[in-house]
């Protein structure tokens, strides 16, 4: 079943087509990776899904319902959470309070929200840092805090925007485990990533964007064999 349907999606900024006639589906329970060179329109697509942008043309359907044009908080209430490429921690709040504020979405009582926050912090390995102000965290943990805050809204669908960028190898492994754990919970994931090793390891399917257009879609094996993708993005060594 398709969880998310991207239908003829276009986004113009003046004369520039950041996205042009993009079509693809994200199936329930899978991890779909969105890759492509810088400026290909990946984050723009996320912004169209989560409501920051109202697409110029086309539609986004979530579980069969159109969501384009809804406000970001509505989209989140429907069950789509996201993280940001440039992390946005609520700096002068503790790690715990960051996650708690998110958990209030589906748990109006403090007790209920605290239980969710506790669980999410354990799951993302941030429990020991819970009393720290979030601005004091190192980058790796701030990236994980983004994921934790998104998970605390108890989503069915998660948009991860470069959650692995800038991580060291040890942190990469931790985050890969977290994302596999998210999939095991039955949450569908769409992830933007440049780290090819990670992409090949975790994703079920890959969609490739270039200059705002979809140039390929398929399994990791198919994508790494695709000539167009190799030329546009991967380069020779990966394609071989």
């Amino acid at each position: 079943m398709s969880m998310l349907e991207i239908r003829k999606l276009s986004m113009f900024f003046g004369g520039l087509a950041a996205l042009h006639d993009v079509n693809f589906d994200v199936r329930q329970g899978e991890i779909l990776a969105l890759i492509g060179p810088n400026g290909a329109g990946k984050t723009t697509l996320f912004n169209c899904v989560n409501g920051f942008y109202n697409p110029s043309e086309g539609q986004v359907l979530f579980k069969g319902q159109p969501i384009s044009g809804l406000k970001p908080h509505k989209v989140c209430q429907m069950g789509i959470a996201r993280t940001f490429q440039v992390v946005k921690p609520l700096s002068r709040m503790s790690v715990f309070d960051n996650v708690l504020a998110s958990a209030f979405l589906r748990n109006p009582t403090r007790k209920g929200a605290q239980d969710v926050a506790d669980e999410v912090l354990h799951f993302t390995g941030l429990w020991d840092d819970r009393d720290q102000l979030s601005k004091g965290l190192p980058l790796g943990k701030r990236k994980r805090l983004e994921i934790a805050r998104a998970l605390a809204t108890q989503p069915e669908f998660l948009l991860l925007d470069e959650s692995f960028a800038g991580l060291n190898p040890a942190e990469l492994d931790v985050s890969i485990d977290i994302i596999r754990g998210i999939k095991q919970q039955g949450i569908t994931v769409m992830i933007i990533e440049h780290h090819m090793k990670v992409i090949m390891a975790i994703s079920d399917r890959i969609v490739v964007l270039n200059f705002g257009q979809k140039i390929a879609e398929g399994s990791p094996a198919e994508i790494s064999a695709d000539r167009q993708v190799v030329e546009a993005y991967l380069g020779e060594e990966h394609g071989a």
Binding site: P72, A81, L90, L100, A101, S102, F104, R110, A150
Partner: protein, 313 residues
């Protein structure tokens, strides 16, 4: 509950103060300090916790004050009913204002608050048939001595304290701070930012209105130039919170005490007394540079500096 111990002790001390037989000038200072604490706590909820800076809280203070004055002038009711009249009136204006200007981000809200305070002052000055314009409204005060007024404003401030504290520790409070820290993040966490900013504005405005209604009853005279004043109300409320401590529980109380005493002291000085607002401006600059989080917020920093100086001396 350990968390409630400090507020209870403070309340007990404040409730006991009039029993000491303080003279009426000291009582006057205390009453004004508590009134400004109420207004400061109200501003702090919106400006401190929710991050929406208002330069126009005189609008709500003045509406509260004129609620009390006008029902007395036109309906012959006791101005004490002003408290009840002001609440829905102020809430309505705040809701209308919030749902329009709080959709926008950045300086628009600040400018809108600045405008609404001035618009109301000028309107009030010119609707002479309704408000008596710059002549102002005079009421007969209920009591000559200060004690009753003291307990009434103490009760109102207690109400404000309890309301703010409950909100700050609830879901609303977390949403307010989330909005202050990052609106994009807050929205993607499912928070309807316009709605919660409007809630913060409305609660803040209603509490400020109560302080205004008290002002009429206590002072016995109001005019637009005073209760809608940019300098003596809107800016003073901000000063109270900035000096005491933004987004802190006790900041407004400390700031109110300091500002009221300072205002009285500076105004009593020969020659420079008339320039007290200039002095406040200088004070604000010093605070922003050296104690950006106010006395309560920067207390750990301040204490370290003082201790170091003590050690070297």
């Amino acid at each position: 509950m350990k968390n409630n111990l400090v507020p209870l002790v403070v309340l007990a001390v404040l409730a006991g103060l009039p029993l000491l037989g303080l003279n009426s000038y000291v009582m006057h200072i205390l009453i004004l300090s508590i009134m400004w604490t109420l207004a400061g706590m109200a501003w702090n909820l919106l400006g401190g916790y929710c991050g929406q800076v208002s330069f126009g809280h005189a609008a709500f203070f003045g509406m509260g004050a004129y609620s009390a004055g006008l029902i007395h002038l036109h309906l012959g009711l006791s101005p004490w009913w002003g408290f009840l009249v002001s609440l829905p009136l102020v809430a309505l204006v705040a809701l209308a204002m919030g749902s329009v200007v709080l959709r926008l981000r950045g300086p628009y809200f600040v400018l809108a608050t600045l405008a609404i305070g001035e618009v109301l002052r000028i309107t009030c000055e010119n609707l002479t048939d309704f408000t008596k314009g710059t002549l102002g409204i005079m009421i007969t005060r209920t009591w000559v001595e200060k004690t009753q007024y003291y307990y009434i404003i103490l009760g109102l401030a207690l109400l404000g304290f309890v309301v703010c504290r409950a909100i700050v520790h609830s879901r609303w409070g977390y949403y307010f701070v989330a909005i202050r820290e990052d609106q994009d993040a807050a929205e993607s966490m499912g928070i309807d930012t316009t709605r919660y900013k409007t809630i913060a504005l409305t609660v803040s405005a209603m509490l400020t209105g109560l302080a205004g209604a008290f002002y009429t009853n206590y002072m016995g005279y109001i005019d637009p130039g005073v209760v809608f004043s940019l300098g003596e109300i809107s800016i003073l409320i901000i000063m109270v919170v900035m000096v005491g401590g933004v987004a802190t529980q006790w900041g407004p109380a400390l700031g109110a005490g300091i500002m009221v005493i300072l205002a009285e002291y500076i105004r009593s000085l020969p020659l420079i007394g008339v320039a007290y607002q200039t002095m406040f401006g200088v004070l604000l600059i010093v605070i922003i540079i050296y104690l950006p989080n106010g006395l309560v917020g920067d207390w750990p920093v301040l204490r370290r500096k003082l201790l170091r100086r003590g050690a070297t001396a």
